[in-house]
Every structure is written in C-alpha cells, then in structure tokens.
Symmetry: C2
Subunit: 201 residues, 2 copies
C-alpha cells in the first residue's frame, strides 16, 4: 500500500468526521488536519481547497443514504417488505454513523446549489414501480386512499426524525445514550406496524 493512499484516506476519514460533526461553516481545516494526525498543508496538496474536500465527503455521504433506499423502492418485492427493509436499513446505518442523516439533510438545505448539480445525475426520484404499487393497493381496496409520495414521506419521517433530532429527543424524553439506542431499536417493529395497520382497511 503506497504511502500516498494512506494519507489521502486518513484525510478523507478525518474530514468526514469533522464535517459531519460541525458542518461546512463550523469545520476548521486545522481541526481536520489534527484529527488526521498530519500537517495542514497536506489537505491542500490532496484536495485543492476546503470546498473540494467538503464536496468529496458530502457526495460520499449521500451515496451512503440514497442508492440503497431507491434500490429497495424499485425492487420487485411486496410493499410491506419494502417498508421493513427501509426501516432496517436506516436503523442499521444510524448505529454505524449517527451523524450522517443530520449532516446530509442540513447541508442539503444550506447549499441547494452545490448538490443539485450532481444529485440530478444519480437517479434520485421515486421509482414508478413503487408509485404504481401504492396506487394498485389503494385501487384494489387494500389500503386507504394515499399517494405514493405521502406514503414514502411517512416511512422516511418515522425513521429519520428521531435520528436527526437526537438531542431534542434525549432531552425531552430524558434518556441516557443507551436508553436512546434502545428507544430507536424499538422503532424497527413499531414503524411498519403503525404505517400499515393505519392504512389497511
């Protein structure tokens, strides 16, 4: 393994950590360098400037959230299984990377320009298969009247809101870190149950 790769990788991982913790504006190049255990100049050697380094991290982060989600939505499995897969996926991902969802959502709002360029190029839109699936279920009387958009929004909301608002949740519900993790894990079963038993006639 060449030394270059190791350094570039160390920088990337450090940048990921600091950007996710502090956001673009709050992150300091010096802090990233310290986290990586290298000199600040190396950041500019491997990545031209703060913007480039940020975009590398941001794009990587989006790719950890989006493709799998839309892959599941476009797949050829029953609606109920799709919901269960998405719920499991997001809760697993959160355990590995607790600050990822809040980071992506926030930076998306802050710099709409920055990401609309590249996010259009990856097919990030609700698959027709999924839309049809919901419509068919409604038409055949299996589900109460609802659009695919609203159905999708309900699932994503129930999953991600407690992850994004961690500090508010822990404060209001007075949970320790461990209790908070337990609280989230309980939701793996609760979410599909609420979604479906609320929609099935």
């Amino acid at each position: 393994m060449p030394i270059e790769k190791e350094t570039e990788q160390k920088i990337f991982e450090a940048a990921q950590k600091i950007f996710q913790k502090s956001g673009f504006e709050g992150a300091r190049m010096q802090e990233i360098a310290d986290e990586a255990g290298i000199n600040k100049s190396m950041l500019h050697y491997y990545y031209r400037n703060k913007d480039t380094l940020f975009m590398t991290v941001f794009q990587s982060s989006v790719k950890k959230i989006m493709p799998q989600l839309f892959g599941t939505l476009a797949s050829d499995i029953p609606l109920r299984e799709k919901v269960e897969q998405i719920v499991e996926f997001y809760h697993d991902m959160f355990l590995k990377n607790p600050q990822l969802p809040a980071f992506v959502i926030y930076e998306m709002n802050q710099h709409p320009q920055r990401f609309k360029d590249f996010i259009g190029s990856m097919g990030v839109q609700l698959p027709e298969v999924f839309i049809d699936q919901v419509e068919d279920a409604v038409d055949s009387g299996k589900l109460r009247s609802i659009t695919g958009d609203q159905f999708f929004m309900n699932v994503v909301s129930m999953c991600m809101m407690p992850m994004i608002a961690r500090n508010m949740v822990q404060t209001v519900l007075q949970l320790t870190d461990d209790e908070y993790i337990d609280f989230l894990n309980e939701r793996r079963k609760i979410i599909p149950s609420v979604i479906f038993n609320g929609l099935i006639i």
Copy 2:
C-alpha cells in the same frame, strides 16, 4: 415608541432571519447589520457579542415551538384531539416561519451545552397526563401496545421531518414551491389518520 426600542427590535428581527438561514457558524454580523439597515457597531452596543445575540434568538425560537406543544399535551382533552391540535399547530407555524424547526433542531445538536442550561428551566418534558392517557388507552384495549414516548415521537416525526428536510423532499418528489406547500397541507389530515387507524384495534 423610543428610538432605542426600534433599533434593538430591528436588530433582533434581522438576527433571527440570518441565524435561521445560515446557522450560528454561517451567519455574519455584517450581514445581520445590513439586513437591519444599521451600522455593525450597533449589534455590539445592544447585544454584547455574537454569542449573546445568538442565544437571544435561539431562546426565542425554542419558545415558539415548545410551550404550545407541551401545553397541548398536558391539557384536558381526548388523545385524538391532542394529536389534531399539534398537527395543526406545527403546520400553521411552518407557514409563518419555514426555517424555524430546522434551525432549532440543528443548533440543539451543535451546541448541546449552550441550551441545556436554560431548557431545563422551562418544563420541557412529556406531561404525566399524556403518558397516563396513552397507557390507559392501551390497558383498556383501545390502542395497540405502545408507550407514550413512542406515540409522541411518531406524531412529531410525521409533522416535522418534511419541514426540516424541505430541500430533499422537493428534489426527490420533484415539487415546485407551491406543490410543496400543498403537499404539506395534505398531511394535516393524513397524519392523525395514519397514527390512529394504525393504533386503534
């Protein structure tokens, strides 16, 4: 109306706008001054520094979200009405101040220290009345088994997530600004329906 009050008020409103748009780290004192149409030095005359100005805005923002929510939860009305009131309240508030929820949630995560001091002093915790109400409904067989915490989390999630992730939602669902507002307003009826018809046996 004394001139002092007018200036202090103008500064506060400008700061509110800029902080909510850019966050603490992204906000610039100069931009706040420009927005208020006054000299930058005035910011330091009325509010000692950026931190003080921010905390004034942040505390005011929290007070626009929390008390009414917990007031409704603690009130003496049926569970279903509480949910409907909360949903209406959040959707009305969002129309008036679209960036408020994202601002509070994000800054809460960034500076846990900063707000835990003052947020403890305002009774921000789930009212016993509400917890008991959910427990009673479960015990008497009216609702499927669920805790007050999880019930509460479901309502707040369904309401606030689409408001916080506005840019993601509009991108994925390919909605114009007007369509997005319509999409949110539809949820006033959808949310209570999903929550309850999912829980009522």
